[in-house]
């Protein structure tokens, strides 16, 4: 039959010769290949002890940021909630009182701030939308819980530790973020 496009490849199918029909040579070849894999680099790592390095753009669980004095950055403007395509963020705003200036940076703050981690798709649009550098995606991942309710993270769970009172925890939570920022 004439070929329509002239692009088809004609396969030459010759009957197997004696060496091929014996199968043994190819079996030995295959065995040599599998044997050589003994000395190859292993693809698996021993996970909890060893961890693969994250990419600088890794997007894990959210963190609500504080400034150097330990005040919350968030002003409850709601831009993150608007940006969120999964509608995972809910918040309630409140006005800062006179005595609370050491707690919140601006006049308005989030009294309630919840992220439903089951809804969240970890796209990072909230981080992009935030004008106050108040929310960012950390390198923590794979949270586990027994109930659905447990995946709705409250403000207390999301807030980064206070840099003044809990310096070490703050550094851990901050992770490699500063390093990555400098490299950008």
């Amino acid at each position: 039959m004439a070929s329509l496009t002239n692009r088809s490849k004609v396969l030459e199918q010759t009957p197997l010769n004696l060496m091929e029909r014996l199968y043994l040579p190819s079996i030995f070849k295959g065995m040599a290949i599998t044997f050589s894999h003994i000395f190859k680099k292993k693809a698996t790592i021993s996970y909890p002890e060893e961890q693969r390095p994250f990419s600088p753009v890794f997007r894990g669980l959210h963190v609500l940021n504080r400034d150097e004095e330990g005040r919350e950055n968030c002003t409850a403007c709601g831009l993150c909630a608007v940006a969120c395509p999964a509608e995972a963020i809910t918040m309630e705003a409140a006005e800062r009182q006179k005595s609370e200036e050491h707690l919140y940076r601006e006049e308005k703050y989030a009294a309630k701030y919840e992220i439903n981690m089951l809804r969240c798709i970890f796209c990072g649009l909230c981080e992009e939308a935030c004008p106050k550098d108040a929310i960012y995606l950390s390198e923590t991942f794979a949270p586990s819980n027994f109930t659905r309710q447990g995946f709705i993270y409250s403000k207390e769970q999301l807030l980064i530790p206070d840099p003044n009172t809990e310096k070490e925890k703050y550094q851990v939570a901050k992770g490699l973020r500063e390093v990555h920022k400098k490299n950008k």
């Binding site: 065995m31 044997f35 292993k42």
Partner: protein
């Protein structure tokens, strides 16, 4: 000590030997499961079990414990007596074969010469064949009594496969037996040890390479190992003939399989690779310098090394070659291996006649 014309020390010595061999085979079988997973992992660029104990060495213990603690389920529609007999039979036949294998020469203990072989039967290899054929019943009974279609198909496959390959296996061995003139495994090993280069030139594999190849392929089929693992083709038959089994009954089937592997490796080493012969070393002169007991133990170590190599070979092949189709399996067994074995037999007969003229 002789009471009623029976040497009771002989009795004791044999009992100890039997206990030793059984324990040893069980431990080896246990660690073969570990080795299998480790070899599979290493051949596929993975790490393998490494959590239980150092290097995961306690993994087989964990697996065994798990099997013991699992609920024992006997299906309602199964034949209960046969359902229980099946795995027992598989285990018994797997262990029985170890009786005639010479694990080493003789050890001198408390003034007695103790032979490291449970029974030096003069029909040794024939006995092995007889017991191995009985092994089919373990699979057949297990598969049939489960009252499950997959199990039944697997059992029928297993039975026909083992019966078909036994023919080629026997025929390939006849050529070997023509050379040795004896069925006793001990005699066969001793004949090989008397060869040149400290016994190496006496190894039967040098005189019967084709026979060895056929025998090895048949051993793979008899042990239901890949590429002939049709009775337990996971992706075709779910799990094979032991699909309905749970708990330690399943453990027995799996264990029996690994013991079979161990015993077949021992038989291949004994028949074709000089058994407990240490290559390039003359045992009798070494015995003068080191003492007979040490040399006997070294011989056991040599046999073990050969066995371990074959166990590794079993796994190596398993993780390299895909499974045969059922008709290809039968085709290979009946149309290729049997004529080849017959030709091998004929050639051996002619050569023997020529040399003896």
């Amino acid at each position: 000590m002789t009471i009623l014309q029976i040497d009771f020390f002989y009795f004791l010595e044999k009992l100890l030997l039997i206990g030793g061999v059984i324990t040893f085979s069980l431990v080896i079988a246990m660690y073969t499961t570990y080795a299998e997973r480790k070899v599979a992992a290493v051949l596929q660029d993975r790490l393998g079990p490494n959590r239980a104990g150092p290097f995961g060495l306690l993994q087989p213990l964990a697996d065994g414990l798990k099997l013991f603690f699992k609920e024992e389920i006997i299906p309602l529609t199964s034949n209960k007596l046969l359902f229980v007999i099946g795995p027992a039979l598989a285990m018994i036949t797997a262990m029985l074969t170890s009786a005639v294998i010479p694990w080493g020469s003789t050890v001198n203990m408390f003034g007695r010469n103790v032979s490291l072989q449970i029974a030096d039967v003069n029909i040794g290899i024939l006995y092995v064949f007889g017991v191995v054929s009985l092994g089919v019943y373990g699979i057949m009974i297990g598969g049939w009594s489960s009252n499950n279609k997959f199990s039944l198909i697997a059992a029928v496959r297993g039975a026909s496969q083992i019966i078909s390959y036994e023919l080629a296996m026997g025929l390939s061995l006849i050529a070997l037996l023509m050379m040795t003139g004896s069925l006793s495994l001990k005699t066969i090993v001793e004949q090989q040890m008397s060869g040149g280069w400290g016994g190496f030139l006496g190894w039967n594999v040098l005189y019967q390479p084709l026979g060895f190849l056929i025998f090895l392929i048949c051993v793979f089929a008899e042990c239901n190992r890949t590429p002939f693992d049709l009775p337990e083709a996971e992706n075709e038959l779910n799990f094979g003939y032991h699909q309905e089994y749970s708990s330690m009954k399943l453990g027995f089937y799996l264990f029996a399989e690994y013991i079979n592997m161990f015993i077949s490796s021992a038989i291949v080493s004994t028949l074709f690779f000089g058994g407990y012969d240490i290559p390039f070393v003359n045992e009798t002169t070494l015995a003068h310098t080191l003492g007979g007991n040490v040399v006997a133990l070294l011989g056991v170590a040599a046999l073990l090394a050969k066995i371990v190599f074959f166990l590794f070979f079993f796994m190596w092949v398993r993780w390299t070659i895909p499974r045969f189709r059922y008709d290809q399996l039968m085709d290979l067994g009946w149309k290729k291996l049997i004529p080849l074995a017959l030709a091998n037999m004929l050639i051996t007969a002619i050569v023997i006649l020529w040399l003896n003229k």
